[in-house]
């Protein structure tokens, strides 16, 4: 059958194409709600309950195969904070492999990925998610006393950070090649952060403890660069990194205290509507995912060792701000893709309207209303993201004498009021090289 010879066939064809390219099932809305639910559950700090919720969401088919990366990231984090480090590592490793595969697919899938609704595609993880999962894997290995394993993870973090701009550019280039009609500008944004202070902090102490003086020194220099880079990118006063020299001395500490606060940044939908009077009188709706920081109540984290004078943990990495900064570099690519897809949809509905020009007024009105409704409902930003990731990482190392010690972590607000505290008992003996205690206050 020759296309265009039969008007009704033509019309059906256009609708089918539009459906294939742009339809959004109600599943993506259900997943958005589920993500909120999971975030709330983490805030209550009942991690067993969060794990049950996640299982329930999977059994209801809300986390589907295409959302497997998210499912693994959330599980990895929940298992990490329940102290099941083996399971956590397995989930994070799965997520890491899937992100790697999904990235390769998304740059090699061709024109389909350019015009498909993001929500229908397999979630390929944000670059910052791919980086921070290694941080928690590293902590899993430290908890298990496997420093070599932890160092593998810090190396992977550094490698990913250093290659971030290449990766984002690779994605942009792939889409630009597919956009043969030059519908959008595919230039990625500028990347302000290319080092993770957290990875270099951990690597400095792990190399020092392993007796690799030179590697520890190199990692310390990178830590200094990362802290200065973050200060510059986020407008902090410069940090006196010389005061952290002791990190290179393995005899200066035997306990690493880590406190995580806040939550991952959240993606929200931003809608833009305009009417393009050229050619087909197109009505265009764009739905962009915008990333917003999730506010934290915590301004300081104090540690009291055996009820003595408190010392402050150092804010080593604002993971949420780094995440936002990395996302901003990728944002032009996401926006360009949204624009290209919206233009194709608008052209499609324009063609349908044109095909019904000679039809009855009732049909023309129906098509017009349907086109409008279709564009309104089918355009939905992809708001998927790792919900259980913390927002900030605070760290400090201390030297304890052999014996049993009580460590109390206090999370303070701007008025120095204690918002939350957690106590640990740590046993140190002559052979203790590095103990790790980890706490979390996700508010």
């Amino acid at each position: 059958m020759k296309l265009g010879s039969d008007r009704s066939t033509n019309l059906a064809g256009y609708f089918l194409l539009l459906f294939l390219f742009g339809s959004t099932g109600c599943h993506s809305y259900m997943l958005d709600d589920a993500q909120f639910e999971l975030r709330d559950s983490m805030t209550s700090m009942n991690y067993d309950e969060s794990r049950e919720l996640l299982n329930e969401l999977e059994s209801k088919n809300i986390y589907r195969k295409k959302d497997q990366v998210l499912w693994n990231l959330e599980n990895g984090m929940i298992y990490h904070f329940t102290g099941d480090y083996d399971s956590s590592t397995v989930f994070f490793s799965e997520a890491e492999n899937e992100i790697d595969e999904a990235y390769t697919k998304s740059v090699s899938r061709g024109v389909v990925s350019l015009f498909s609704n993001d929500n229908k595609l397999a979630y390929d993880g944000e670059p910052y998610e791919d980086i921070y999962l290694n941080a928690f894997k590293a902590l899993n290995f430290i908890h298990q006393g496997d420093w070599d394993g932890a160092l593998v993870e810090t190396r992977r973090m550094s490698y990913k950070m250093e290659n971030l701009d290449i990766r984002i550019k690779g994605l942009a280039d792939a889409f630009a090649r597919q956009d043969t009609n030059n519908l959008a500008d595919w230039t990625p944004g500028k990347l302000n952060v290319q080092n993770s202070a957290m990875s270099h902090y951990l690597a400095t102490i792990l190399y020092a403890k392993s007796g690799d003086v030179d590697d520890s020194r190199i990692e310390f220099m990178k830590l200094q660069t990362a802290l200065n880079e973050q200060a510059e990118a986020f407008g902090y006063p410069s940090i006196d990194t010389r005061s952290l020299q002791y990190l290179q001395n393995p005899n200066a500490y035997n306990l690493l205290i880590t406190g995580f606060t806040g939550q991952a940044p959240i993606k929200v939908q931003e809608d833009v509507r305009f009417f393009d009077e050229t050619t087909l009188n197109r009505y265009v709706k764009l739905s962009f995912p915008r990333i917003e920081l999730y506010p934290t109540e915590v301004y300081r984290v104090h540690v009291l060792i055996n009820d003595k004078e408190p010392l402050s943990l150092k804010l080593i990495e604002e993971m949420d701000r780094v995440a936002k900064s990395v996302y901003e570099a990728k944002k032009p690519v996401i926006y360009a893709r949204t624009l290209a897809r919206a233009l194709v949809k608008a052209t499609g509905t324009g063609l349908i309207k044109k095909a019904t020009e000679d039809e009855s007024r009732a049909l023309r009105t129906a098509v017009s209303v349907l086109s409008f409704l279709y564009k309104e409902t089918s355009e939905k930003a992809d708001l998927r993201g790792w919900q259980t990731m913390p927002g900030q990482a605070w760290m400090e190392v201390v030297k304890l004498q052999p014996g049993v010690h009580t460590i109390r972590l206090e999370y303070l607000n701007d008025y120095d009021q204690i918002m939350y505290f957690e106590e640990f008992e740590v046993v140190i003996d002559d052979r203790t090289e590095l103990e790790l205690i980890e706490s979390m206050y996700p508010r």
Binding site: D100, E101, Y103, T104, K105, V107, S108, R109, G110, V112, S113, D148, G149, L151, V152, R155, R156, Y159, N163, I166, R167, K169, G170, D173, A174, S210
Partner: protein, 201 residues
């Protein structure tokens, strides 16, 4: 109607045929199986084979045996994984231990972790074993040489992540415990090019 039923049957049969199933085949451990491009058993085997051959044919062995009128005692220490992958270096060290023992020209003593367990057992015997069977304390054989090493990797990836070059270098060193003299250094390099062509798009 008949045609519709037949067509449906064909579709159902085709779908049934597409159901995934697990197939397991036993194979020769010497077979090369490169599936992911990551470090695997073939790499460990290649390293061990080359290193063992090299270590046992170098002059340090004969020289020591000649000078001391006894075979050297070796302890296998740690081979550190300094790569970006989780590599079980024990596969290499155990292969080295096996080769040393089977060569008959080297005495091998237990590693640090193994020693802990044996010492605990010996201590236990002092209290609970019969006098005739109790093993004596402080009779351990001191090692003359220690084998240590590391594995490093360099990764180079194309922007679209479809081509990956991984360069591994494995260094093993045999060090005289008394003098710190390095009597043998072995090095094995492995370079892999991973082309991910089979991604379903």
């Amino acid at each position: 109607m008949k045609r519709t039923v037949y067509s449906l049957l064909v579709v159902i049969m085709a779908l049934a045929a597409c159901r995934p199933s697990n197939k397991i085949t036993r194979m020769d451990p010497g077979t090369t199986t490169d599936l992911s491009g990551r470090w695997n058993d073939t790499d460990a085997r290649l390293v061990s084979e080359e290193m063992i051959g090299d270590a046992l044919t170098h002059p340090w062995l004969n020289q020591f045996s000649r000078e001391n009128q006894k075979p050297p005692t070796v302890i296998v220490g740690t081979v550190r994984n300094e790569s970006m992958e989780h590599i079980d270096t024990e596969v290499i060290t155990k292969e080295m231990e096996r080769a040393f023992v089977n060569s008959g020209s080297v005495n091998l003593v237990a590693s640090a972790a193994e020693r802990e367990e044996i010492r605990a057992e010996r201590l236990d015997q002092q209290e609970y074993a019969s006098f005739e069977t109790t093993k004596k304390m402080a009779q351990e054989l001191g090692a003359d040489f220690m084998l240590i090493g590391n594995i490093n990797s360099i990764v180079d990836e194309s922007a679209d992540s479809r081509t990956l070059a991984v360069f591994y270098t494995v260094n093993l060193e045999l060090i005289n415990v008394e003098t710190n003299q390095k009597v043998w250094i072995g090095n094995k390099k492995i370079k892999k090019l991973v082309e991910r062509r089979n991604y379903r798009g």
